[in-house]
Amino acid sequence: MLELKPPLVLLSGPAGFGEYLKLIDHRFVGAVVLKTVTFKPRGGNPPPRMAEGPFFLLNSIGLENPGVLSFLEDLPKLAVPTIASFGGETYEEYLEIAKLVKDKAKEFVAVEFNFSCPNVKEGGLTIVRDKEKWRRLLVELREILDDSFLIAKVGIEGLFVEDAAEMAYQAGWNGMTLVNTVRGLIVDKGKILLGGLSGPILKPIALRAVYEVKRRFPNLYVIGSGGVYSVEDAKDYLMVGADAIGIGSALFKDPGIVEEIGRYLLEVRR
């Protein structure tokens, strides 16, 4: 089991490689999920990469990261438990990553696979489209990383979350992060911007996803991800069964909120 104290994680992407730990009291962070690392290095998408509306952020970072080889050569050493996040552009890349990571997997309290980035042309969200192939991928990754606490991060597109959960559960995965950003589009000064939606707009969607999954698979460890900005938001996630609370976009508004929510979770989960 994953015992995070508090059960609060900084989500992959907004949390970078732990930079926010310079601004937040570590006692209130259960774990940091590192930025998704892919097989090859990626420069990311051209700017502009982010825009905001009243209830959402739209990002198209495009998985900028140094690639798995440089990542493994120079693993971030954080003062809090760390969860690695990996994503491939193809089936084979996911497997290659898992093989490369195997030796170092002990450095992480869990390993998350991102099956849901909406901002890359290959892989990302599209990997779950072929259900049978994805099922096989889950089984193979489980076999390679037989010792790790494995978390599948999915979105709401390509597959119903409860179906995704069933496949992950049957393949022996330990947990899920629900949900990743949802594909969105805004028109800004006459220009179309594509990206993934996060922030408050995502909360009811993610709550429903957590609810549907936990009701069917109470033993899957679920990290709720979407629009947590306050203790009240965190309570809602606990109510629908989330095992841990993820904070992403709210870091951009006020990193201090992590301490408030973390303090609350330490109290109720003592």
Partner: protein, 220 residues
Amino acid sequence: MERFCLTKRDVFRVNEDTWIVSFEETIDFLPGQFLMVETPKLVRKPFALGYWGGHLAISVQIKGVGTSWIVHESKRLKAHGPLGNGFVKPGKGALLISPTCVTMAWAFKKFMDVDVIVGSRTPVLLDLGFETVVGDEAFLEKLREVSRKDYDWYLVAGSRSMEKVCWEELKGKREVYFSLEEYMACGIGACKSCATLTNFGIKHVCTDGPVFRGEDLCWS
């Protein structure tokens, strides 16, 4: 870098849309560095650190509800900083800025030997303490004059169009710098939202900048 709260001391109107906000507190920083300030919106906004009347201050151009809130409603501001790389140069420099960088210019004055020229599109309502020109034509004329003087270095901080005009005029000079204002979400190198294309690939304004050499930027 740390989190803190700033207490508003005063606001001064610079021109049609730009204001100076000064604070009671002081913090240590270098010219060019910035801080991220919370507003009622979802993402903190970056502001160059500077001084006004000897007090810590930022200049705020009102662009929407967030910036309007900072100027007109807030009393205390949550922020984190100082962020980005400081810029300190020997020799005699020229600083070409829009009114949104007036407070930053006072920080430059404190550390460097620098002449400051402010170019404003609309009439300026306050004595800024620097040579100030109003309107595009007047600015262009001033720019040519400054270019003829051959300073050791130049730094431009303003709108994208101002940067372009200045680069056209100054690109033959040895050292020309630009302080960029890209969209930022974290300011600390975590989110990768502040990417800008340079001749050396993608750079991040918050950690690689905010000041870049003119010849490293993509101007097309």
